[in-house]
Amino acid sequence: MTTTLDEQYYSSLLELQQLDFALVELTLFLDTHPNDMQALQQFNQLAQQRQQCAHAFELRYGPLLQFGHSYSKFPWQWSQSPWPWQV
């Protein structure tokens, strides 16, 4: 099975990248501002949103994480193309 890189793929990926980027920014910020309650709440809220978004992406385009952090359909999907630098 080859994943088709349609417009939907790129827009779903972008949506996930947007959520994950905010989480990266908040992670670094909280590393130096551990007592910022508002940033922490935003972080936890986005983390939950991210989980749903990543789950929907994985159902359609295969696992994002491995070593057991993502599920796989049969046959083993992880090793299938495309890899991030190929798309």
């Binding site: 990248q17 670094l28 910020f29 991030p84």
Partner: protein, 189 residues
Amino acid sequence: MWVYEKKLQYPVKVSKCDVRMAKYLAEQYGGADGELAAALRYLNQRYTIPDKVIGLLTDIGTEEFAHLEMIATMIYKLTKDASPQELEAAGLGPHYVSHDSALFYNNAAGVPWTAAYIQAKGDPLADLYEDIAAEEKARATYQWLIDMTDDVDLQDSLKFLREREIVHAMRFKEAVEIIKADREQQKIY
């Protein structure tokens, strides 16, 4: 333990077949102030930095690997369909005879990466000031890379990476403040 995520941090789109840029982008792949040097510098310094800033060094070090993958993507896309003659015309003849179109950790001039580029002094201020300087140098390198291309899509990804250097430098400056703080907390012997 690290877990790989099968996606780029930011979309990398290269719209112009300009092999020359692959040679220049190597500066941020295997250069002194490149992403490999950054990742290895922070992830090594973290073992001996005060506990309060270990998390920051771990997270920025990890993000640097995501940036390394973006640079690799740019170089890969620019070289995968290039003939030996096209590589040679872009100044990559010497690279070709040693590596074909494989990526390699060297700078834009072809000098291989060395651990001599990075430092770990064990002194938290010395290490953090090195990190701030490294971020500013990487920011400058991104500026000169942006100047060297007229591919607006490539510029877009490079601008993202440049801004990340600014945010990282900000966090390292805050780490310095955290290290300096607690004046009353004198060491008790």
